[in-house]
């Protein structure tokens, strides 16, 4: 069992209505690895993450987490699986009606039978890890953007999950805070041996933390490789993204006129 890869995705196909959002995505993430998922806007990376988290129904293919296919798990089995997963959402998604400490403690309250004091100590330990010691009695509204994200990380790791997911950890943060968060991700990898999946479009951050990088583009997997392999890739779309070159759109004169006059045919 322990030799199963942390994440194994085969032929993932996601479709909303008649539109294919993701197609033929095959990917394996080994245990203890930091996998960064990159891609421009509309590449399907957010949808991809929601699929991994089991938040959306998929159209075809399979997603195995820790050796178990989450598309066939029963409600109760998925409930057990969720205890092995931690997620830090883009905006933190802390519960606004609870203090930071209560937020961090919530998974413990729901999943384990411990006394209040033990849970408080565990929550403080995780807050220490993310450098937020002493902030447990504040409300989320009183925290800065970077602090909210770190509190969200503390909540995500409270159950010591085997899989940790980050959605755009650097979005909306200044470069220094963003770098601190990168260090935190690396610390979690080495200190706790977690398998970490990070969805981001920040190149600098990706190169710093990734063991491997996967590029998604227009709903397809473009390439998956180490940082060096990605840097040396001769794929034009990847190089455009790495060098921040705007996409040149092929201009079709007839199509252009049709768009302007608003005719379908």
């Amino acid at each position: 069992m322990a030799t199963d890869p942390a994440i194994e995705i085969s032929n993932l196909h996601v479709r909303y209505g008649d539109v294919d959002i993701l197609q033929d995505v095959n990917l394996t993430v080994e245990r203890g690895e930091v996998m960064v998922i990159m891609g421009g806007s509309g590449s399907g990376k957010s949808t991809f993450l929601r699929q991994l988290l089991g938040l959306e129904k998929l159209y075809g293919g399979s997603i195995k987490l820790l050796g178990k296919d989450i598309t066939t798990l029963t409600g109760q089995e998925m409930y057990q699986m969720r205890k092995e997963m931690g997620v830090a959402f883009q905006g933190g998604a802390l519960f606004n009606s609870m203090t930071v400490g209560e937020n961090v403690m919530l998974p413990l309250r729901e999943h384990v039978d411990l006394n209040e004091q033990t849970m408080q100590i565990m929550a403080r330990m995780k807050l220490e890890v993310v450098n937020l010691a002493g902030f447990e009695n504040l409300m989320p509204a009183q925290l800065s953007g970077g602090m909210i994200k770190r509190a969200a990380v503390a909540r995500a790791i409270i159950m010591d999950p085997k899989l940790l997911f980050f959605d755009e950890p650097s979005a909306g943060l200044d470069p220094v805070v963003s770098a601190e968060l990168d260090d935190l991700i690396l610390k979690l990898k080495t200190a706790m041996g977690m398998t970490i999946v990070v969805v981001t479009h920040e190149l600098e951050s990706a190169f710093k933390i990734a063991d491997r990088i996967t590029f998604l583009d227009r709903g397809k997997l473009l390439m998956s490789g180490t940082v060096d392999e990605v840097r040396n890739s001769d794929n034009k779309r990847i190089q455009n993204l790495l060098n921040r070159v705007p996409e040149e759109e092929q201009l079709d004169a007839d199509e252009y006129i049709r768009r302007l006059v608003g005719r379908e045919e």
Binding site: L53, V87, F89, G91, A93, F95, N96, L106, E110
Partner: protein, 262 residues
Amino acid sequence: MLTFLEGLGRRTVRGIEELGYHAALFAESIYWLVWGKRIGQPVRNNHVVKEMVSVGINALPIITVLSFSIGIMLAIQGIHTLKTFGAQNQVVLGIALSVTREFAPLIVAILVAGRSGSAFAARIGTMKISQELDALKVMGINPVRYLLAPALLAMLVMVPTVTFFADLVGLLGGGLYSAAELGIGLDVYWERTLDVLDPEDLMQGLVKSVLFAVMISLISAANGFSVSGGAEGVGRATTRAVVMSIAAILVTDMLFTYFMNQ
């Protein structure tokens, strides 16, 4: 004409879909309330108590004012109307039946829909757009169990309880005015009220209030869970929750009353 029919058809389908969604939410809440504990995912008592305080206890002052006013209003109108026939003494019967069968359950349900239903829809909607619902799901905390089930149970207990309270206050309001106007003692009024009041009258009101409780919780939750489109969407869902709840309450009241009095 064709587009009108098409629109009508689409609306009907959407309506049926929504009704199905409400039914599914209800079934799921009952499942968590009954089975949750056995599979290690209980509906927390402290959540239920918190909801009960906010739905019921905190509403008592305003309920008191409203039902007292309604009682007096019924007495004024009743005496004024019955005077024409020289039967103003019959006002006791009028007040007793209207308060317990109609006014107390209605006023409580409308107030709870406006106070708690809207707040509930707004809370769930805000949680949806800030990804807090997703956060709950990925933590293995089912949002229906965590948010809706405690609110539903709290409403099921508190709406009838508060309705019973409103019955008493409404009767008292009507009694104080009638006693003064007709020159009878409050004890005589009370005795006559108990005399004319059948337990069935009281029960009819209370059973209705249970139905209203279910409708308010489901409609508010469904609108909250379906929010899309940011803060504006939350506002829209909140308004829709209140308007739909009140409409559902009144129509159900009419149907229920019709069938119960056949």
